[in-house]
């Protein structure tokens, strides 16, 4: 994306009273870029959006637009438009009045407003609804009115606060693509807050993952997905399966110490910054391969495990197995079902295996809270 540093957050921190919500957020967003702020509820992503919009004053740090400090500017002077999760449409105004209000504020003539509003309505598929009140619209229509109201003023920056979370699952899938196409066509810089991993992956140029008020990782969707920087990010991006291993770093290889469930193995270090000792291993259910015992073909470096199938379900696409590996259960997908009770080999290829040194004090299981599980589902 061109013009990096179009919108900048410089060591922004916020808090309510004594509790700090965000600490030292540094973020630089380019012009025309679509950035998704991804995180579980309460991680501070909505607060961060409100700092950008000017509704929450940061306790320290600066927000800059085109190198101009806007930290203390009121919301109406920032050239940003916020689309609310609740849509916040004005119930006493019609659809056309809702969309046209921003233009009216600019002192535009009513004829000009009328033509722009109807152009916006047809762009968003709201033709013929101009005289309705928001109360008489469906959820999807309301969402588009809220979007139209923000877009019609040609904002430099569009801020989206989980705008799709109140839509039906099916509508949501199409609106994702519509919204992305619209953003690209108009060349607007967009910051999108969501807790939906897939939504962020599909829509954004860059994903910023927030964890407990800090940026855990940022990067292109495929980077964040395939090279998670922390155990939290890995779990949030779907690698819910967690194993505790002992490894030794040997030159450019990682040597896995055999244990209760895992066989000895050797995987390339592959740019990971690991030190010898206890590690957390994470992998996605769909990355694992399942074989009947002793029927595993030779398949490059990776992690081999032995376990017993506890149950098997069919969520669609592949059979999902719960496999007991020593004292832990993991999920693993396979194209054919293995019966419960069967002893199987589980193989995780090294490129799908995420290894992280365990923090000395924290237990690994605390990372995989219910929130991240929800995001995965």
């Amino acid at each position: 994306m061109s013009g990096a540093g179009f919108l900048e957050l410089d060591r922004v921190a916020t808090g309510y009273g004594a509790t700090q919500v965000m600490k030292d957020i540094d973020l630089s967003i380019g012009s025309g870029e679509f950035v998704a702020l991804l995180g579980s509820s309460g991680c501070g992503k909505t607060t961060l959006l409100r700092v950008l919009a000017g509704f929450v004053a940061p306790t320290s740090g600066h927000v800059r637009v085109r190198q101009k400090d806007v930290t203390t500017l009121p919301p109406d002077k920032r050239g940003m438009a916020l689309v609310f999760q609740s849509y916040a449409l004005w119930p006493h105004m019609t659809v056309a009045q809702n969309i046209g209000y921003g233009l009216k504020l600019k002192g535009m003539g009513s004829a000009e407003i009328g033509s722009r509003v109807s152009a916006m309505q047809s762009m968003l598929g709201l033709d013929g609804l101009g005289d309705r009140k928001p109360g008489a619209l469906s959820g999807g229509q309301r969402q588009r009115v809220a979007l139209g109201r923000a877009l019609v003023i040609d904002p430099q920056i569009l801020l989206l606060d989980e705008p799709l979370s109140n839509l039906d699952a099916r509508i949501r899938l199409t609106v994702r693509h519509e919204l992305r196409a619209l953003q690209q066509r108009l060349g607007i810089t967009a910051v999108h807050v969501t807790h939906d991993r897939e939504e962020a992956m599909v829509m954004a140029d860059r994903i910023v993952i927030l964890d407990a008020g800090r940026i855990a990782q940022q990067g292109r969707p495929e980077e964040v997905f395939n090279r998670p920087a922390t155990s939290f990010v890995a779990a949030f991006m779907g690698a819910e399966n967690l194993l505790h291993l002992q490894v030794a770093v040997d030159g450019s290889d990682v040597v896995i110490t055999p244990g209760q469930a895992q066989a000895a193995g050797r995987v390339p270090l592959f740019g990971r910054s690991l030190v010898s000792g206890a590690v957390e291993a994470r992998f996605r259910p769909e990355a694992a391969r399942l074989y009947p015992l002793h029927a595993m073909p030779e398949a490059g470096p990776g992690l081999s495990l032995v376990g017993e199938v506890l149950s098997v379900t069919y969520p669609g696409g592949a059979w999902r197995h719960v496999v007991r590996l020593g004292d832990r259960d993991v999920l693993a997908d396979a194209p054919r079902a293995h019966a419960a009770g069967e002893t199987v080999n589980v193989f995780v290829p090294h490129e799908a295996l995420f290894l992280f040194n365990r923090p000395a004090n924290a237990a690994g299981s605390s990372i995989s809270g219910p929130e991240s599980r929800k995001a995965f589902a």
Partner: protein
């Protein structure tokens, strides 16, 4: 059995009918009595109904000498001014209170109740003394001030409820697309709060219309109000004049009650005093 049942359910209407009848009598009996008195020429004790009907009392009341028109005019002017002053105070106060955080907020709301917490007579006698010293006694402005202190609790409480029923995000949505704070208030918050504010205006209007004690101590004898006229006529045994005055007081109340009922929605009512 089949024939017995309907007769039982019919029987049930007897106690119900008696209760409803009694209730109706207690509510509408005095009203009907008042209406009769307004068109009575002659009516004394052993007779259940007036002996002669006529409108001479109306003529007497509305004669310039009768003072009813003057009192009505005074009452309306005071009521309108009271509403104007109360709303001018209650709109900003209610808005601020609606957006404030809690503990402080309920304390301030409670403070508006203080004028009601003490016996009216005690308060107004002293108010009258103070107003006398600063020349406000016997003026419209003085009476308006007394009525405002009395009506402000309704105005502020209802206005606060009306404003807190409005989602802050509606305002923020306007701010974020370029409306200044005042513009957002004028275009979004105020129209949405209007029904609640109208209701509070009506309450204040009605309170002002039949407020007696303050009007008596601060207003009389220079500023005569309808309730004073009613009191004088009633205590003088002139029931015709008293009833006509009462009717003049009653009509706006009834009309406004209907309007209030239409405009005060549940979401506003549920927030009163919170």
């Amino acid at each position: 059995m089949g024939a017995f049942r309907p007769s039982l359910s019919v029987l049930w209407w007897v106690p119900r009918g008696i209760i409803f009848g009694l209730m109706a009598f207690f509510i509408f009996g005095p009203l009907f009595n008042m209406l009769l008195w307004t068109v009575t020429e002659k009516w004394y004790f052993p007779h259940a109904l007036p002996l002669e009907y006529g409108f001479s009392a109306w003529k007497r009341v509305f004669e310039p000498r009768g003072g009813a028109l003057e009192s009505l005019g005074n009452s309306l002017v005071v009521a309108v001014l009271t509403v104007a002053v109360s709303l001018a105070l209650a709109v900003p106060a209610g808005y601020a209170l609606a957006r404030l955080k809690l503990p402080l907020r309920s304390l301030i709301l409670l403070a508006f109740l203080i004028p009601q917490a003490f016996p009216n007579l005690t308060v107004y006698v002293n108010v009258a003394r103070i107003f006398y010293e600063i020349g406000l006694n016997g003026t419209i402005a003085g009476v308006v001030l007394v009525h405002v202190s009395h009506g402000l609790v309704y105005a502020v409480w209802i206005a606060t409820a009306a404003f807190s029923a409005i989602d802050v995000e509606l305002e923020q949505a306007a701010r974020s697309i370029g409306a200044g704070a005042f513009r957002a208030f004028r275009d979004i918050t105020l129209p949405l709060a209007a029904p609640g504010l109208l209701a509070s205006a009506i309450f204040v209007f009605l309170e002002s219309l039949d407020e007696f004690t303050g009007s008596y101590f601060v207003g009389a004898p220079d500023v005569n109000m309808l309730p004073l006229l009613l009191y004088t006529a009633g205590s003088g045994g002139n029931y015709q004049v008293a009833s006509i005055t009462a009717l003049l007081l009653l009509v706006p109340s009834l009309i406004f009650m209907l309007i209030v009922e239409r405009f005060l929605k549940a979401d506003v009512l549920s927030r009163v005093g919170r």
